[in-house]
């Protein structure tokens, strides 16, 4: 159903984008700060999410990619909730680029999740 090479590609793309996103949050990019302020999560939430993204990215590049993909999917779901319910799809006049990136990460990590579902700790055997 899935192709090993594509899985590795998806891991790479997702990890790269997650690392970029985490870096923006860590350095306090004004755009990110503004978004987290609007969610009422500044600064604890910003750092918390940044750390989670970093962990997910590193796991995606390691033998524990299955776990990484679960975390990545979770973070992206949270981000989509934020954009749909509070922030809007176009933020800081980016023409929806941020949300598009989110979707790319989500799709990639879902792909990894599906192809590596057997390796997910505890539940992998049943999938």
């Amino acid at each position: 159903m899935t192709h090993p090479k594509l899985t590795y590609l998806a891991q790479g793309v997702a990890a790269l984008l997650l690392l970029t996103a985490a870096t923006m949050k860590f350095v306090g990019d004004p755009g990110s700060v503004d978004l987290f302020e609007r969610l009422g999560m500044e600064p604890v939430g910003r750092y918390g999410i940044a750390i989670t993204e970093l962990v997910a990215a590193l796991l995606l590049l390691s033998p524990f990619a299955a776990l990484g993909s679960v975390i990545a999917v979770a973070v992206m779901c949270g981000a989509i909730i934020a954009h749909v319910t509070q922030l809007g799809l176009v933020v800081n006049d980016d023409g929806g680029r941020l949300v598009a990136m989110l979707v790319v990460v989500l799709v990639c990590s879902v792909y990894v999740l599906i192809s590596r579902r057997k390796q997910i700790p505890f539940v992998g055997d049943t999938l």
Partner: protein
């Protein structure tokens, strides 16, 4: 009567399945109206709900999950960590199988060279159901004992006659079942202690030879290392191996206690270029280990084959088997006498023997236990008058000097152990030998796992274990008032009437 405490799993799981949906909605609302942080929970419950839908309505291979959902998964998780929980928390010190913690601890202690005294009393149920040694009113001094020495091949006046100097030898375990570090640690330990090691049926013993210990080359039914393309004996290869200095004896494996009468399959995925070379097989195709040597189809051909290997190798040559039918064995012995070909030793492996991998039905249900088989073999050889022309080696959980002496009283000359030495190497009885995941790096080829097995340290443990067993052997023997294990007989063991040996030992009619 219906118990009041009965858990209605169906009702509980229905609540649980609806519960996560409710929790998902609640968290969502809280995230929206109270604080965005609640959405962490929203996401978690969302994923759980998705997973639950998959379990309940999509997958078809797990009935429990389809019927009950995520609550049943908790059961799988608890079940999957059950063995560890039992081993670490709930199993008592004397109840684990195959080796209880008490028995394992004894090997660990010997291997680490620690004091082996304990206080207050035996932890075993010391009662009438176990074999025990009989001591004498008149113990002998330890320095009056003859040094341990069993000469193999002496009755044929071979100039390659080999002297075994320790009551215990390392039983067959192939490179393949064991990783290279484990093989080298065992071989180096044997070398340090001056003991003898069997190579197992893994073909050319490359890693054993690196350490220079005395070796018994084992020829399995697939004859790895000495086979022709169609699995017959390649005499030139055997002669070349036998000419090596380290190789002192040859053991023809007819069967093994853990899986008597069962062949095996070496799947092509496992055949690395190295394995192909050592075992003499071609890459890219499965290799079948037949259930018997192709040359051996009845008593006559089996004895002829033994004679052939004796002739080609020029070394003391014996056979290894797990006893099934004593009448068959008697017929084999009679055929030996007829042809004038007697193996130089016979290894009797108990049905309780270990293995790297065997079907459970074979582990559990087939083959005579050692303490039943050994006296039968001994008695038949005596009856037929050839007992003094060969030695008997015995294996099957003989991991302490006491058990070894019991075996010697029942007919064995030398004891063999496989798993005792794995314990000395640090085996924690994780029972994963067939999965390439051995957590202590013994039965695995993964470099990351073998890393933890330091050859020098573990070789010392192996040597300590051999020496401690020899030390105990001498002490017990002295207490039994005997100057040599050679002189022991059935009189030296107490065999309870409901115990592990039919007593007096006799051949079933």
């Amino acid at each position: 009567m219906k118990s009041t405490f009965a858990i209605d799993l169906e009702k509980m799981s229905r609540t649980a399945n609806v519960g996560i949906v409710v929790l998902f909605l609640l968290a969502g609302a809280a995230g929206h109206f109270a604080s965005f942080y609640f959405h962490f929970l929203t996401v978690a419950f969302f994923l759980l709900v998705l997973l639950n839908v998959y379990w309940r309505h999509v997958q078809t291979s797990h009935a429990l999950l389809a019927n009950f959902g995520w609550l049943a998964q908790l059961r799988y998780i608890v079940e999957s960590i059950g063995p560890e929980l039992r081993q670490y928390l709930f199993a008592s010190d004397t109840e684990e199988r195959p080796f209880s913690r008490v028995k394992r601890a004894e090997v660990y202690r010997k291997a680490k060279g620690l004091d082996a005294t304990a206080a207050f009393g035996s932890l075993l149920s010391y009662d009438r159901t176990e074999l025990k040694l009989r001591h004498s009113f008149y113990p002998v001094d330890e320095d009056e004992l003859e040094p341990f020495d069993v000469a193999i091949g002496a009755s044929r006046q071979l100039d390659t006659t080999y002297h075994i100097r320790h009551p215990i030898m390392i039983s067959a375990m192939s490179y393949g079942a064991l990783g290279q570090n484990a093989v080298r640690a065992l071989a180096r330990g044997a070398k340090q202690a001056g003991a003898t090691m069997n190579t197992g049926e893994g073909g050319h013993p490359k890693y054993h030879l690196m350490e220079g210990c005395d070796l018994i080359f084992q020829m399995g039914t697939a004859k790895f290392g000495v086979r022709t393309a169609d699995g017959r004996l390649d005499e030139d290869k055997l002669a070349a191996l036998a000419a090596l200095d380290a190789i002192k004896m040859v053991e023809i494996k007819l069967s093994q206690g853990a899986k008597p009468g069962k062949g095996g399959l070496l799947p092509k995925e496992k055949i690395t270029p190295e394995i192909a070379e050592l075992r003499g097989v071609t890459m890219g195709q499965d290799v079948v280990s037949p259930a018997h040597h192709v040359e051996c189809v009845d008593a006559e051909s089996t004895v002829a084959f033994i004679g052939c290997v004796q002739r080609v190798s020029g070394l003391p040559t014996g056979i290894k088997f797990c006893l099934g039918r004593p009448d068959e064995f008697r017929a084999l012995v009679q055929e030996m006498k007829r042809q004038g070909t007697v193996p130089d030793f016979i290894t009797v492996d108990g049905g309780e023997g270990g293995t790297g991998a065997a079907p459970v039905s074979f582990l559990d249900e087939i083959g005579l236990p050692l303490f039943e088989a050994l006296p039968l073999v001994h008695r038949i050889l005596l009856d037929e008058g050839i007992r003094d022309r060969l030695a008997i080696f015995a294996s099957g959980k003989l991991i302490s000097a006491g058990k070894q002496l019991q075996a010697m009283s029942l007919g064995a000359d030398v004891a063999y152990s496989a798993r005792g030495f794995l314990l000395a190497l640090g085996c924690i009885q994780a029972l994963q030998c067939n999965q390439n995941t051995c957590p202590v790096g013994i039965t695995t080829h993964q470099p990351e796992l073998q890393r933890g097995l330091d050859i020098a340290t573990k070789a010392q443990r192996v040597a300590n274990y051999i020496e401690a067993l020899h030390h105990d052997h001498v002490e017990l023997l002295a207490a039994m008032g005997s100057s040599s294990a050679r002189l022991l007989s059935e009189e030296n063991v107490y065999a309870p009437s409901q115990g592990p040996v039919s007593w007096p030992v006799r051949e079933p009619s």
